[in-house]
């Protein structure tokens, strides 16, 4: 494989060649004359990508998305998005002669008549689950390393929108086969829409084109699932990638890695090979899972009939938290004099659900408002160095986890021999208490880790070797850290919290301080105050200690 240093030689050789140019060069020349790809390629072929496995999480999402489109196109060829009733006479014995919608019948045919249909369906569904898992992990990485800070706030928003759209694309896809679970899911969605005050019933009629289930919802979801949402997502993915190229990638702190450069390998040839190979590995892993593990066995679920329902009717995992919110919420209901019913059992979950998502999208703006940080950041932070942010992230995850457990309360009850009522109460209380606990515990852990970093810088690594000095004292030998690790542990900034200024001006008159500013200063202290930052060792401290304890 040629490397960066060798390539100029070959270009230098090129002008000597007086004969016909090689085919590749002629094609490139032809294309350049018409598309102007030379400048584009020149600028981007040497694009640098830093090396770290956590930077590949986003690629897992990208490749799952590509797999979803490829398999989705195949499934579209055979799926009939119609709610017309037909009698089943396919090859699956235990459904013979049942009345079902054409959508469900064609989904059964995809499983049992279409060549490779079952495998492709399972790849599609597994890739969908893994796609959203990947988005979550990718967002964890970006969030906890502060990679959403300026200049990347907009790209965080693009990613956030991709998450929301992925969730809704998943929801509509889950609903398409018109099996029992699909229908139960749509029914819950309909109920939630109906719970919206005043406009609920109109919205329901608008979306379903009549009373539930009607004949419109599957075709409408089909168009949404295969055209509308993936189209928008594709656009956002492209925009997301363009911004990554424009901003350049963040990298972790290290010697030679500054806020002004990116240290890594060029797109061509190194990253092209890596990324290309990674695509096939992701495809391979997902296909292997799909070939061995059943997902959504619609042939066992039966066609949807509004009078039939099953236990274990849960949405796919990424909507488990919304299911949990509904299961946790007491079934409160008010009848306003005049006969109008307010169904809080669904209305409150319907409000909390988008709120839980929205805080993800808005967080970068909140943080930059609190910290007044307007600088560009290209070095990924270590989560411990921003304990408040890390704590907030873990608190959100705790709330998400509690609601997700609430969404699967029946399975947890059965498999851990618990009472479903007890689990529901645990989740109801835990939703409010556990995130707070998680926040403080996480912050304490981060502080502990900062202290540990400080100790390691000043005293070196504990080797576990015990030495006995001539006068009988035992000491443990500490090994000083190498220079590059010292750099990693001390390169982060430590800002000072914002001050609102003195309460009175120079004449002793009480100053008017905007209460919003007071809140902001208070929040700023939680980010940069004493309880969030252990002062990192200065070089004076380092030299003093290392010179004094040289024998260590």
């Amino acid at each position: 494989m040629s490397t960066a240093t060798e390539s100029p030689k070959t270009t230098a050789d090129a002008p000597k060649n007086r004969g016909k140019a090689p085919a590749g060069e002629r094609v490139a020349d032809w294309a350049d004359g018409r598309l102007g790809i030379y400048s584009l390629a020149k600028a981007n072929m040497r694009k640098i990508f830093p090396d770290h496995w956590s930077f590949l999480l986003g690629e897992i999402c990208l490749y799952s998305f590509v797999i979803l489109i490829l398999t989705g196109v195949y499934l579209t060829l055979f799926f009939v998005p119609s709610m017309a009733e037909v009698e089943y006479h396919g090859s699956f014995e235990p459904m013979q002669g049942l009345l079902m919608s054409e959508a469900y019948a064609s989904a059964l045919d995809i499983n049992f008549e279409v060549r490779g249909g079952l495998l492709v369906r399972q790849i599609h569904h597994w890739a969908a689950l893994i796609f959203v898992v990947g988005i979550f992990l990718h967002m964890f990485r970006v969030f906890f390393t502060g990679a959403f800070r300026k200049p990347r706030e907009v790209n965080w928003l693009f990613g956030f929108l991709l998450l929301v759209l992925a969730i809704f694309t998943g929801l509509t896809g889950y609903s398409l086969p018109d099996d029992s679970l699909s229908g139960i899911g749509i029914r819950l969605m309909e109920a939630a829409i109906l719970a919206v005050p005043v406009v609920g019933s109109y919205l329901q009629m608008f979306i379903f084109g009549g009373e539930f289930p009607g004949h419109d919802i599957i075709p409408r979801f089909f168009v949404t699932h295969v055209l509308l949402l993936p189209g928008i997502m594709l656009g956002l993915v492209v925009a997301h990638l363009i911004l990554i190229v424009y901003h350049k990638h963040t990298h972790y702190a290290g010697p030679g890695r500054t806020n002004e450069n990116v240290v890594g390998y060029p797109l061509l040839p190194v990253y092209m090979a890596k990324a290309g190979g990674f695509f096939f590995l992701v495809f391979g892993v997902i296909t292997m899972i799909a070939a061995t593990v059943t997902i959504n066995p619609i042939w066992l679920l039966g066609p949807y009939r509004p009078d039939q329902v099953s236990t274990d009717a849960q949405p796919d995992w990424y909507l488990g938290f919304s299911e949990g919110l509904v299961r946790m919420m007491p079934g409160w209901e008010w009848v306003i004099p005049g006969g109008y019913t307010l169904n809080f059992g669904l209305l409150i979950p319907l409000a909390v659900f988008p709120a839980m998502l929205a805080v993800i999208g808005l967080y970068p703006f909140f943080e930059s408002w609190v910290t007044k940080d307007k600088r560009e950041h290209h070095i990924a932070q270590r989560p411990r160095n921003s304990p408040t942010r890390t704590g907030l992230g873990v608190a959100w995850l705790t709330a998400f986890g509690v609601t997700t457990i609430g969404g699967g309360n029946d399975l947890f009850a059965v498999h851990f021999n618990l009472s479903i009522n007890a689990i529901t109460w645990f989740c109801r209380i835990g939703f409010f208490v556990l995130p707070v606990l998680a926040f403080f515990i996480t912050r304490r852990i981060c502080m502990g880790l900062q202290r540990r970093d400080r100790d390691k810088v000043l005293h070196g690594r504990e080797t576990g070797i015990i030495k006995r000095l001539p006068h009988g004292e035992f000491v443990e030998v500490h090994q000083p850290l190498p220079q590059d690790q010292l750099h990693v542990l001390t390169s982060h900034d430590q800002a000072t919290p914002m001050e609102v200024g003195p309460e009175t001006d120079e004449n002793g008159v009480r100053r008017r301080i905007n209460p919003v500013e007071r809140v902001r200063a208070r929040l700023s202290r939680t980010y940069y105050g004493e309880q969030a930052q252990i002062p990192k060792p200065t070089s004076e401290e380092y030299h003093e200690i290392t010179s004094g304890h040289g024998h260590h």
């Binding site: 494989m1 496995w53 235990p94 039939q308 009472s419 007890a422």
Partner: protein, 269 residues
């Protein structure tokens, strides 16, 4: 009448009356008495009841009462029928090892012969559903497709669409129906054990029950085909989500770490 009244004080009258009475008794006995064979069955039945009563008093009476009249620890068993005993004791649910939200399935304590005796005793206390004939629960006689429909209408709310089981309130549960013998499924539908409603023949006809058993035989046994691969227990999306979060993303992260570590490091140093 006069002749009769004249001779009623005849010295032989008493003998004549006695003879007539004896003849009538004998004749009535000859016509009305049960046949010998039936007599033998009765004695076997009463023997079984006798044995069953003895077993009952040792193993069951502490909760259900000496006369099976029930008490604070167990319900009355009068009128529950032989089918109920066959189900509860045959699947090991009774006798219970300890009190709890519900009696879990466990290895049976009694032999089938003993269970039959217990069943005979309980059946003798009051009329109730009998242990079904073998043909009543033969899956081959049912229509799986129709059974699936009936199952989804009547059973899947608690037992899940393929009978993997589900939770009920306060620690109770609808047990898994996987690999449960058709006979016990039939008896459970008939008698409605524990938290299950009963489905007598007026609610689900014998054919309906056969169809449901046929559906379960098709999808909820170890021999049921699983065209998609491992079934993850048939618990729906929660299990799938857990799999995606553990094995799915775990494998991909392992691959990512491997790819991330594969670099042209040799050139760097």
């Amino acid at each position: 009448m006069k002749k009769l009244s004249v001779r009623r004080r005849h010295p032989l009258a008493a003998f004549v009356v006695l003879l007539l009475a004896l003849a009538a008794t004998g004749g009535l006995y000859a016509t009305l008495a049960p046949a010998d064979e039936a007599q033998a069955e009765t004695s076997a039945q009463s023997l079984a009841i006798e044995e069953g009563k003895r077993l009952y008093e040792v193993g069951c009476s502490s909760c259900h009462g000496r006369g099976a009249q029930g008490g604070s620890d167990g319900p009355s068993l009068v009128g529950v029928g032989a089918a109920s005993v066959d189900f509860q004791v045959g699947t090991g649910r009774m006798p219970m090892a300890q009190t709890g939200p519900q009696a879990p399935e466990k290895p049976a304590v009694y032999t089938q012969a003993e269970i039959d005796q217990l069943a005979a005793y309980i059946a003798s206390l009051g009329p109730g559903p009998n242990v079904p004939e073998e043909s009543a629960y033969d899956p081959a006689r049912g229509d799986a497709a129709r059974g699936g429909e009936l199952f989804r209408s009547n059973c899947s709310q608690c037992h899940n669409f393929v009978g993997s089981g589900g939770a009920l309130t306060n620690g109770k549960e609808a047990p898994s129906l996987r690999d449960v013998e058709p006979r016990y499924i039939f008896e459970a539908m008939l008698t409605g054990p524990q938290n299950m409603p009963s489905f007598p023949d007026t609610t689900l006809t014998e054919q309906d029950k056969l169809d449901i058993i046929a559906w379960l035989d098709e999808v909820a046994t170890s021999e049921s085909p699983s065209p998609g691969g491992f079934s993850l227990g048939g618990y729906g999306p929660v299990g799938e989500g857990l799999f995606a979060w553990t094995f799915g993303i775990g494998a991909l992260i392992a691959v990512a770490v491997w790819i991330g570590a594969r670099s042209t490091k040799a050139r760097k140093s």
